[in-house]
């Protein structure tokens, strides 16, 4: 017999593709600003990442006999590639994009079962693998002010992208703030001295005058994108807030106790990839817990781990590691943090019957 169609016979306009489009829209200002900061090589890298990610996605969808067209249209691979690009050094060579997108799309996402099945955030896991495998290329930062003085034209931009570090002119590279603070602190220099030596003002980080990954430099624009996503209800506030609190509160506390050894909360919030992670990475639904409280705990863990790695670990930046570690705890969080079912206790037993003789 012809089976009837089950209700509801109405549907919200929220479709996956539309949500992904919103995310891209939110990423656009920070990305465009970064193109302006770092010039053609940055744009080349971004474009390469997008094209390659779509290629890997299509290839592996075909290998797994899934409908290629329908899945490519949902935009998830594009968003992954975009975030991946923002996590790479701005003038990274072409093969980092090839390897990075392959790791993110093929290994982390498709091999784990495709969209919705991956355990780790593809961009973060790929970044961690690249950082361990290619430490030099992954930490060759570009100083924006050097680019501003003599921006590379299209041809030299292509040379930088496709010939790698050998084509990198002298005088462009610089250290990130986190690098500098870590190295100087290791040598016993007080934080304030390091920062004043670097001529640090918090506004620098906001407008992106400090070196870093492609998407890390402009905290203000990332924050703007994040607020837009919050406003459009694409993401919820719990995980971002958790992450920001998790990093800022202990940082502020320790900084208060020993201001010359440890930089404060605002410094940590504005440095590195924290803003990117807060609004675009820990909000990735696939690798985050499903409950509101779970997401807050998840964000808190990511923030705390990031701060711990930055402060006591070997790496100057720890967002990617922190997110990967917390990704692996998601099933645990989902197991223990569940919504209470209406009419039942937290344990799942029916509530005791009380006569409703309220007056």
């Amino acid at each position: 017999m012809n089976q009837p169609i089950h209700g509801p016979h109405a549907h919200s306009s929220a479709q996956l593709g539309a949500l992904m489009l919103q995310v891209m829209l939110a990423l656009a200002p920070a990305t465009l600003y970064s193109f302006w900061l770092y010039g053609w090589p940055a744009f080349n890298l971004w474009l390469l990442c997008l094209v390659l990610a779509l290629f890997w996605e299509a290839l592996f969808l075909a290998l797994f006999h899934k409908p290629v067209g329908a899945h490519l249209k949902d935009g998830s691979a594009t968003v992954t590639a975009w975030i991946m690009a923002l996590c790479l050094p701005p003038w990274a060579p072409w093969w980092l994009a090839v390897v990075g997108t392959f790791l993110a799309i093929a290994i982390i996402k498709q091999i784990f079962g495709g969209l919705g099945q991956n355990v780790f955030n593809p961009a973060m896991a790929a970044r961690v693998m690249l950082l361990i495998a290619f430490p030099v290329e992954m930490t060759t930062w570009i100083a924006p002010e050097a680019v501003a003085i003599s921006p590379p034209d299209i041809t030299s931009g292509l040379a930088i992208t496709f010939q790698g570090l050998s084509a990198l002119p002298d005088g462009y590279s610089g250290a990130t703030l986190l690098d500098a603070v870590k190295n100087q602190s290791a040598q016993g220099d007080p934080v304030s001295a390091t920062l004043s030596h670097l001529d640090y003002r918090p506004t620098d980080a906001i407008i992106g005058l400090r070196g870093g990954s492609l998407g890390e430099s402009t905290s203000a624009l990332l924050l703007l994108g994040g607020l837009y996503l919050l406003w459009r209800r694409v993401i919820t506030w719990q995980a971002p807030l958790g992450l920001l609190l998790g990093a800022a509160v202990p940082a502020a506390g320790l900084s208060l106790a020993a201001p010359e050894s440890y930089p404060g909360g605002v410094f940590h919030l504005l440095a590195g990839g924290l803003m990117l992670a807060a609004f675009f990475i820990v909000t990735d639904p696939v690798t985050a817990p499903i409950t509101a409280r779970g997401r807050f705990v998840f964000g808190l863990g990511c923030g705390l781990l990031t701060w711990l790695i930055r402060t006591f670990g070997n790496y100057p930046e720890g967002v990617a590691f922190a997110v990967m570690l917390m990704n692996s705890t998601v099933p645990l969080i989902d197991r223990y943090i569940k919504p209470r079912i209406y009419g039942r206790t937290r344990k799942g037993d029916p509530l005791p019957i009380t006569e409703g003789r309220t007056s």
């Binding site: 209700g7 509801p8 549907h11 919200s12 949500l19 919504p339 209406y342 029916p350 019957i353 006569e355």
Partner: protein, 487 residues
């Protein structure tokens, strides 16, 4: 004042403006009426008329049978033409037994029907009985026999009677119009029900997207001791558990009835039917139906005699503007797809909708990205995505342990899902599957018992035969010995 924490819910576009401006009009009699014997939850009614018999308007044509059941009355005078199977107003479209009535157009009332002069003077039990014999069921769509609910609430003793004017389903405006046009009758019906269950107070809850209905009911309730409250409009506000919690602060415990917590809820249309039954002597033979959806030419509300086929309703009242993508009985969230246009209007039919593809706005299902929109939308605090994943893996028991039985099937999760997953369909499939397994297991148990009984019987019979044979042999031997011994 309490501020109960309500969870979940969605805000589907209401589309109420399509039909809420037109007053309720009386719908003319169709050429044939089809009265299914089961228009309610529980046991079907038993027909008491014969084919060819003439019946009058309001006359009992099928009496209730068993404790949970409701009688059926003739919506007009006419001749019973058949007692045959007709497409059920049910998603399956399976045939059910229905009385076919051919109206004679004379609208002759059954003379035995008479209003009660002072119903509030009657004992509550008597009131419940009369409401039951008028065939009144929950008109909000659940169609649970009203008298059964009232009777058990009276026995249990309830504190609060809640009148549900939520009407949170999009498109539907029948309750809205009724509250605007007959607020007095609704309040009188509510007071009668209050008397029937001896409730201490009555609260009417109306969604704040119906300001005119709210004002009308407020005016009618003045000085009657009935509290009228505006509730935020959000789907599924008209669901019993949600509305009770919002109005009284009581969270109904799982697997218990509302009456156990001292609460009874009825729809505003049910209250009006109670008023009509007791004060006008008119059993439930018609109801207000919303005709809506953008595929229809004229949307509006009609007082339709029960048994009117959907095709007649659409042809006469409206006609299609464009080919509808889907025809629905009830609201778009919890209503059913009409199996065909012959399906009659029954007691639970709140609306007939003809929706276009654009209004339905659904897509091919995609992979779940764990966005948890369903978790946020679920008014029951369930995790629809986890339940769905387990059902898709065939692990129904795990889904049940996650709260499948607590799902009220409101459809908020399916509505919000960006992957267009048919979540409620999955849950109802799993519920059906679990129920059929339980049936199978029970049958197995029974089969085993029967087989064992037969086995024992066969053994016993064999033994008895054996004993009989032995006795005969012994007797024969004795006889032989007796014959021999004298010699």
């Amino acid at each position: 004042m309490f501020s109960p924490r309500l969870r979940g819910g969605v805000h589907p576009p209401g589309h109420k403006e399509l039909s809420n401006a037109s007053p309720i009009r009386r719908f003319p009699m169709a050429e044939r009426l089809y009265l299914p014997l089961q228009q309610h939850l529980g046991a079907p009614a038993t027909p008491i008329v014969k084919v060819g018999e003439r019946v009058r308007k309001g006359q009992l044509v099928a009496s209730s049978q068993g404790t949970v059941s409701a009688p059926v009355h003739a919506p007009t005078s006419g001749v019973v033409r058949a007692l045959a199977e007709h497409t059920a107003p049910h998603p399956s479209g399976l045939p059910v037994l229905a009385i076919t009535l051919e109206p004679d157009g004379r609208e002759e009332w059954d003379p035995s029907l008479a209003p009660v002069s002072d119903p509030l003077a009657l004992p509550p039990e008597e009131l419940c009985l009369r409401i039951g014999s008028a065939g009144i069921v929950g008109l909000g769509g659940a169609t649970f026999p009203a008298a059964v609910k009232l009777g058990s609430s009276l026995k249990r003793g309830v504190d609060t009677l809640i009148l549900n004017g939520g009407e949170c389903e999009p498109y539907l405006t029948c309750d809205d119009r009724l509250m605007r046009e007959e607020p007095g009758n609704i309040i009188r019906g509510a007071l009668l029900m209050q008397h029937a269950v001896q409730a201490r107070r009555v609260i009417v809850g109306i969604e704040d997207n119906k300001p005119q209905a709210l004002a009308a009911i407020r005016k009618a309730a003045e000085g009657q001791g009935v509290e009228v409250r505006s509730v935020p409009s959000r789907y599924p506000m008209g669901s019993q558990k949600q509305l009770v919690q919002l109005l009284t602060g009581i969270e109904l415990p799982a697997m218990s009835r509302a009456a156990d917590s001292g609460v009874l809820m009825h729809n505003v249309a049910t209250a009006r039917a109670v008023y009509q039954a007791l004060c006008q002597g008119r059993p439930l033979i018609s109801r207000v139906v919303t005709l809506s959806g953008q595929a229809l030419t004229h949307q509006g509300n009609w007082e339709v005699p029960l048994g009117t086929p959907a095709s007649y309703l659409i042809n006469y009242a409206s006609g299609f503007d464009c080919a509808p993508a889907r025809l629905i009985m009830g609201g778009p969230m919890m209503g059913i797809q009409l199996p065909d246009l012959n399906v009659p209007v029954i007691k639970g039919t709140s609306g007939i909708l003809a929706l276009t593809r654009k209004e339905i706005n659904t897509d091919e299902p995609g992979p779940c990205v764990r966005c948890a929109g369903c978790v946020r939308a679920c008014p029951m605090g369930l995790q629809p995505l986890e339940m769905a994943a387990n059902i898709r893996n065939g692990d129904f028991e795990k889904a049940r342990s996650l709260g499948l039985d607590d799902c009220v099937g409101c459809g908020a999760c399916s509505y919000i899902c960006p992957a267009s997953l048919p979540l409620v369909h999955l849950f109802n499939y799993a519920k059906g599957e679990l129920a059929s397994r339980q049936r199978e297991a029970r049958k197995m148990e029974k089969t085993r018992a029967l087989a064992q009984r037969r086995e024992e019987r066969l053994v016993r019979q064999a033994r008895e035969r054996e004993e009989l044979m032995a006795a005969r042999r012994a007797a024969a031997a004795r006889k032989a010995a007796g014959e021999e011994s004298p010699s």
